[in-house]
Symmetry: C2
C-alpha cells in the first residue's frame, strides 16, 4: 500500500472486472483472464459479456450493472465508441480505476483527442482514475494481477523481483519486461501508460517510489506530459533511495520526427529534458541493454558512497580495456596506497599492484591470490566497487567452488561495497556467484558502465544539495520586447550589470559620452526591431577618438537606413570597451515542457558550433550556477588554463543565478533572454553583460503571467 | 596454404614436436597434447621427454635429436634457461617454426630482453620463425591443431568458422575465443603472439588475409612492434575484402600506464594509432563485445555497397531508440520514396512509412505485413541493411515458421543486402533465422552499431582511394633548430607561404618595413631560443603608425631582456597583420611508432582545449588533406557557417599536403613543426603561415636521416 490509494487499486486490485471478456485467449478481452488464471491471481476476476454464462470457466456477468460488487479495477476491452458508456457504468458502480486497452482516441487525430478529453471529464465526475487509452496495461508479478494483453507472455512469464518498469509505449515496455525475463532479472510491476489521458509515467514512478515492491525503477518516455509531477516523482524516488533509469527517445532529428508521429503529444527538446531529469536524479540512458545492466547492478540495493573502482585482473590486456572504459565514462580509479602495493608485490612478484591490479594467470591455480588482491582493494584501496576480470576461468566447474570459498567471506565482510566478476561460461555456474551476492557481467566495458551508474547514484545521494535560489523580486515587464538599453535597465534591477554605457541621440552627445567613459568605446544601434545588430553593420568596435565617434555615428545610421529602413530607432549606445576578459554567453529559453531554462557557454562562434553549453531549469542558487559553469568542456579556460588569469567565477555564478531567478519570476510572457557576450573579467573584477536582448510574447504585461 | 610457408607451418603444421611433454594434462607440456588428442588433430604429435617411453599414449622421444623426422612445428614448454639449446637442436633437426610457451624473457627486464635477442639471432641462423616467447600459443580449429595451453578449453572447444583472432595478450585472446564460443560464433584460428620476439600480430593478420580459412580478422594489440608490416597486413586484408576489427588498448592515462608495465614495448600515442590504423581500413573498437557483434555480422560476408539503414518496427518506441543510435554513430537513414510510402499507407493506414517504418502490432498477427514493409525497404528504399525490431514475437514458437516463410524468399531475392532482426526469446528458435541468413541481435542499439561497421566497410571498399602525395623535393636541414625567419625560409622552399614580412635589426629598419608592408603590422622577436613568444610579451599586434613601431621595438627587447636574458636574438620580425580569415593550426609530430604525423585543427585556445584535431601519417596528397580538414567538428566554420565567408580550403589543403610531403622527406632529425596560426583567408585569397617553429634533434644535418 502506498499513499496513492487509487493507483494501488489500479496496480494491485483485489478484484477486477473485464469488460469485453471472451473465451478466445488470443484476443484482447481473453488474454488478461488467461494470464491471471495461469499466474494464480490472488484477487477476484469478474468477466463481463452479455452473451456468455461463463468465460474461461469463471461466472460471467451480463453488464457492469449486473456485477455482484464494485470491482476495485476494471479492464476495458471494448471498441472506442462503447468506452464512454462503460466508464459511466463503472463509475456508477463505484469502480475507482480503469485500464483502457481500447485504441481510437488522441492517437488518431483531433476527433479522438476530443473524445479522450470527454472521457477524462466523465471519469473525473466519479473520481475514477484512468490508465490509457491505447495502453497495453499492467502486470503485477507478486499478486499475479495481469491486467494486460501483451503477447510477450506467450514466450514466458516474468520472474518476481524488485525492478519496476513504467513505459509510455506498450510494445517497448513489454520488450523491457521480456529483456529482463530473458536475463533472469526479477520484476515487480510493468505499467504502460499509452495515451496518458490521466495517469502518466510520473504517477507510475511515484507509485513505485512509495511502494515497497520496487527498489529500482526503469522508465521509457517519448514525451513529458506533466513535468511538475514527473520531477516530484523523481525527487520522491531519490529520497527513497531508488534509482530511476530513464530512456527518453527522440534525441536525433530522425528520432524526434518518429516520436511526433507516434505519440499524441509533442516531444520536448531532448537536451533540456536530459539536463532537467538528470538534475532530479534520473540516470538518463540511450539503450535498453544498458538500462538492464544497471537495473541488475542496482537490484542488489548496495549503493556505496565512494565513486571509485578497483579492477583486479588475470589478464593485463583486459585490465587495460576496462580501465580505458572507466576513464571514458569518468569513473575514478585511484591507485592503491604504496604500502598495500608493496605487500602485494611481495606476495606475487610479477604482479602489478597499482590499479588495475594484475594478479596474473597465477591466480587461476591459486584462488587465494584473488582473495588477497580483492581484500587489499576493498580494505586498503577503499574502492566503492571492485571488478574482477576472471574470463572463462570463473565459469569452469573445477574452479567455481574454490573461488566461491575464497570470495564468499569477503563478500560478507564488506556488505556496503560492490564485488563484481567479469566472467564467461555456463550460466548455471555463473549464477552461483550471483546468489552469493557477487555481480556477474560478461563484458568488462558493460560492467564498468553499470558500476559507474550505481556508484554515481550512491555518491550523489550523499552529496550536499545545492542551496536554494535567492528570493525573487517582483518583475514588471513592458508591453512589448524592450530595446537594448531598456532590457539592460530591467536586468539591472535584477542585479545584472551591463558595461558602463550611455544612450545618446546625436553625435555630439556621443562624443561627450565617450569622453566620460574613456576610450576605446563600442557604439551600436538602439532599436527594439534589430536583434542581430552586428550582422547588418550596426555595431562598431575599437573607437578611440572623438573623430572616430562621429564617423561611427554616421556609419551606423547609414547601415541601418540601408538594410532595415523600417526599424524604429531609439538612438545609439556608447559603451566602454572592456578587454582582458573571457567572452561568455548566458541566456534563457522558455521550454514548452519545463518552462524557463538557463543556458551558459563560452562566447564565440567556435564554441557555439561545438554545442558546449550547460542547461538548467530556473531558478537556482549561485552554487548550482557555479557547478553549471564549470561543467562545460571549455570550463578550464575560465579557471585560467594555459597561463591565463582565472576569471571572476563567483561573479559569473551570481549573475547566472540572478538571471535564473529573474526568469522564473517573469512569467510566461518571457520567451527568451540573450546576454551575449557576457564579459567575464579577471578575478575580483566582476562580469558585465555587454549586450542584452529580451524577447516577450505579445499582449499586455502580466496578461498570462504564471 | 598462403604465400607465407613458414607461418603455414606454424599455424597448420602436419607434425608437431612437444618439447617438455608430460602426462599431466593440467601442465603446460601436457595440455596441448591432450587438446590435440581430444580435437582429433590430423597431423603427427611427437612428444619429447627424456624420462618417458610414452606420453598420453603416444610414443615419446628422449630428445629433439632422437625425433624420427624434422617436425614442421615445435611447442617449447621448458624453463627459459633451457630454451636456447632446445631452439638450437630444433634448428639442427630442420624444424622451421617454434612456439615458445616459456616465460622469463623481455617481460622480466633488461637481462631477459638480451636473452630474447640472442634467441632470435639463434633461430635466424636456421631460418626458423619463432612465436613468443611468453605466448599462450595457437589453435587451428579446422585441423584440430591445438598448440596452446589455454585453460579456456576446460570449459569447451571452439566451434569451426571463419573468424580469426590475433592477440598480443594470451589471456585476452583466449577470452575473445571463449566469448565467440559462448555466442555460438565459429572461429578459424587463434594466434597469440606474446613478447613478439619474431612473429607479430602483423604477421598473423597477414596470414589470415591470405588464408582461405578466415573471412573476418579480430585483433587485440597493446603496442605496435612493426608498423610497416602492420600497415601492409591491413592493406592486404582490405584488398582481400576481409574486415579487420581491432582493439588497441592503452587509450586512457590509466590504461596507458598499465600497458607500459604489461608489455615489453612502449605503447604509441593512442590518437595517432587510431587515425593511422583507421586510414588503413582497420575498424577500431573499444570493447570485446562490439568486436564480436561486428564479427558476427561480418562473418556472413555480405558487404553491401550502400551505407544506409532502413528500420522496420512493431514498436514505435523501439524504432525511435534505434534511429537515435543510427544518428549518433552517423549511419544514414534516408526516408522512403514518396510513392512507396503511399503504397504502404494504403496497405496499413495507421502505419508510419517514412523511416523508421512502423508496421505496428498488426504485423504480429500478420507476418505478410512484415514481408511487404521489408520488401519495400529493400526494393524502393534501397537500403544497404534492413533491421526489423520484432522483440519477443520472433522468438515465439507460434510465429517463427510464419515469419521465416514470409522473410525467407526476400532473403534469397536480395543476396547482396543485409536483413537483421532484433529479437528476444529461445536461442534455438532465434537460431533458425540465423540459419536462414538473417542476422539476429538482442539489442537494437548493438544491432545498429554492428550494421554500421559492416556497411561502412562495404561502402569504403568501393570508394575511390585518395590520389598519391605529390613527389617530394630533397630537404636539407640546418645544424640546429632554426629561428622563425629561417624556418619560414625552409618551408617557403617547400611551397608553404608565410605572411608578407621582413626581418629587421633596428627600429629605423622596422619603420621602413612597416611602411612598405602597409599598416597595421605585427612585430615579434626573432630568436631560436624562444618558442612561445607571446607568453613573455615578445609579440605585439595592431601596430598602426611609425611611432607605435618604435615603441613596440623597444618594448619587445625590454620584455625579452627581463624574462629571457640569455636568449640569443636575431632581430625583430615585422609582418603585415592579416584579418578577416580564420586562424588554424597545422603541425607535424614525429610519432615513435608511425613516424611523422600531420595535425590539423582550428586555432585559438578554445579548440585546443576541446581536442578537435585531425591526424594523419605523412605524406599525403591534397584531396586527403581536404578530407582531413573537413573531418574536424569545427570544419563547418571553414565552409562558411553562420554567415561567414568560406575560407580557401583548396589552398589550405595544398599547404597541409606540402607540409606532409616535406615532413616525410626531412628524415628522422625533424622532431616537430608548428604552424600556429595559419591564417586561412576567404576563398581565392590563399592561406599564410603567420608563425613557424621547426624543432630538430641535435646532430649533424643528415647524420641519422631516414
Amino acid at each position: 500500500m502506498t499513499g496513492l490509494p487509487h493507483i494501488d487499486g489500479l496496480i494491485a486490485p483485489r478484484s477486477v472486472a473485464v469488460i469485453g471478456a471472451t473465451n478466445d485467449v488470443t484476443r484482447i478481452g481473453g488474454r488478461p483472464i488467461a494470464a491471471m488464471l495461469h499466474a494464480g491471481y490472488e484477487g477476484r476476476i469478474l468477466p463481463v459479456n452479455p452473451k456468455r454464462e461463463t468465460i474461461q470457466g469463471l461466472p460471467c456477468y451480463a453488464s457492469v450493472d449486473a456485477l455482484p460488487e464494485a470491482p476495485e479495477a476494471a479492464l476495458i476491452a471494448v471498441p472506442a465508441k462503447l468506452v464512454p458508456e462503460t466508464v459511466e457504468a463503472l463509475g456508477r458502480k463505484g469502480c475507482m480505476a480503469a485500464t483502457l486497452f481500447s485504441a481510437g482516441f488522441a492517437e488518431t487525430g483531433a476527433d479522438g483527442e476530443a473524445a479522450q478529453r470527454e472521457l477524462v471529464a466523465l471519469a473525473g465526475r466519479y473520481g475514477m482514475r484512468l490508465l490509457g487509452p491505447n495502453t497495453l496495461g499492467i502486470y503485477n508479478v507478486a499478486t499475479g494481477y495481469f491486467g494486460t494483453f501483451s503477447s510477450s507472455l506467450d514466450t514466458g512469464y516474468p520472474k518476481l523481483g524488485n525492478i519496476g518498469i513504467a513505459s509510455q509505449s506498450g510494445a517497448f515496455g513489454a520488450h523491457l519486461g521480456a529483456l529482463a525475463r530473458d536475463r533472469g532479472l526479477g520484476c515487480s510491476v510493468l505499467i504502460t501508460t499509452g495515451n496518458e489521458a490521466d495517469i502518466t509515467v510520473a504517477d507510475a514512478i511515484r507509485w513505485m517510489a512509495e511502494s515497497d515492491t520496487t527498489d529500482v525503477i526503469c522508465t521509457y518516455m517519448e514525451a513529458v506530459n506533466d513535468a511538475p509531477a514527473l520531477l516530484a516523482a523523481l525527487d520522491a524516488a531519490r529520497e527513497a533511495g531508488k534509482p530511476v533509469l530513464a530512456l527518453k527517445s527522440g534525441r536525433s532529428a530522425v528520432g524526434a520526427k518518429a516520436a511526433a508521429s507516434h505519440t499524441a503529444s509533442l516531444t520536448g527538446d531532448a537536451v533540456v529534458a536530459d539536463a532537467v531529469l538528470t538534475d532530479h536524479g534520473a540516470i538518463m540512458l540511450r539503450d535498453p541493454e544498458t538500462m538492464m545492466d544497471i537495473a541488475y547492478a542496482a537490484s542488489k540495493t548496495v549503493f556505496p558512497t565512494r565513486h571509485s573502482l578497483g579492477i583486479i585482473t588475470v589478464s593485463g590486456g583486459a585490465g587495460i580495456v576496462a580501465s580505458d572504459e572507466a576513464e571514458r565514462v569518468g569513473l575514478p580509479m585511484p591507485p592503491m596506497p604504496d604500502g598495500a602495493q608493496a605487500k602485494l608485490k611481495e606476495l606475487l612478484p610479477y604482479s602489478s599492484a597499482v590499479n588495475p591490479l594484475d594478479c596474473t594467470a597465477q591466480a587461476l591455480n591459486d584462488p587465494s591470490l584473488l582473495e588477497s588482491f580483492t581484500h587489499a582493494a576493498l580494505e586498503d584501496g577503499g574502492y566503492g566497487a571492485v571488478l574482477c576480470f576472471l574470463t572463462y576461468v570463473a565459469g569452469s566447474e573445477a574452479m567455481a567452488d574454490a573461488i566461491l570459498q575464497a570470495m564468499g567471506p569477503l563478500r560478507r565482510a564488506y556488505p556496503d561495497r560492490i564485488i563484481a566478476f567479469c566472467a564467461l561460461g555456463d550460466p548455471e555456474i555463473l549464477n552461483r556467484y550471483d546468489e552469493a551476492g557477487i555481480l556477474i557481467f560478461n563484458d568488462p566495458c558493460r560492467a564498468v558502465r553499470a558500476l559507474d551508474a550505481v556508484l554515481r547514484f550512491g555518491s550523489e545521494r550523499n552529496a550536499e544539495r545545492s542551496s536554494p535560489p535567492p528570493p525573487s523580486k517582483p518583475v514588471s515587464l513592458p508591453d512589448a520586447s524592450p530595446d537594448e538599453a531598456a532590457a539592460k535597465a530591467i536586468l539591472a534591477q535584477a542585479g545584472i550589470a551591463g558595461a558602463p554605457e550611455r544612450a545618446v541621440r546625436d553625435a555630439g552627445e556621443a562624443v561627450n559620452a565617450a569622453d566620460e567613459l574613456g576610450y576605446p568605446v563600442v557604439m551600436k544601434i538602439l532599436s527594439p526591431d534589430i536583434a542581430h545588430k552586428s550582422d547588418i553593420g550596426a555595431v562598431r568596435l575599437n573607437i578611440s577618438s572623438a573623430d572616430e565617434v562621429r564617423a561611427a555615428y554616421a556609419a551606423i545610421l547609414a547601415a541601418v537606413a540601408e538594410q532595415m529602413p523600417d526599424a524604429s530607432i531609439n538612438g545609439i549606445l556608447v559603451a566602454k570597451q572592456l578587454s582582458g576578459g573571457v567572452e561568455c554567453l548566458m541566456g534563457i529559453n522558455r521550454d514548452p515542457t519545463f518552462g524557463p531554462v538557463a543556458v551558459f557557454g563560452l562566447g564565440g562562434i567556435f564554441v557555439e558550433l561545438l554545442d558546449d553549453v550547460a542547461v538548467k531549469a530556473c531558478p537556482f542558487g549561485p552554487d548550482a550556477a557555479r557547478q553549471m559553469i564549470l561543467s562545460i568542456r571549455g570550463g578550464a579556460i575560465l579557471q585560467g588554463a594555459r597561463g591565463r588569469s582565472p576569471v571572476d567565477i563567483d561573479a559569473l555564478a551570481q549573475m547566472l543565478s540572478r538571471l535564473s531567478v529573474f526568469a522564473a519570476a517573469a512569467g510566461k510572457r518571457l520567451q527568451s533572454i540573450d546576454l551575449n557576450p557576457v564579459m567575464a573579467m579577471p578575478e575580483g573584477q566582476e562580469v558585465y553583460a555587454l549586450d542584452a536582448v529580451i524577447e516577450l510574447s505579445d499582449g499586455r504585461p502580466g496578461a498570462d503571467d504564471h
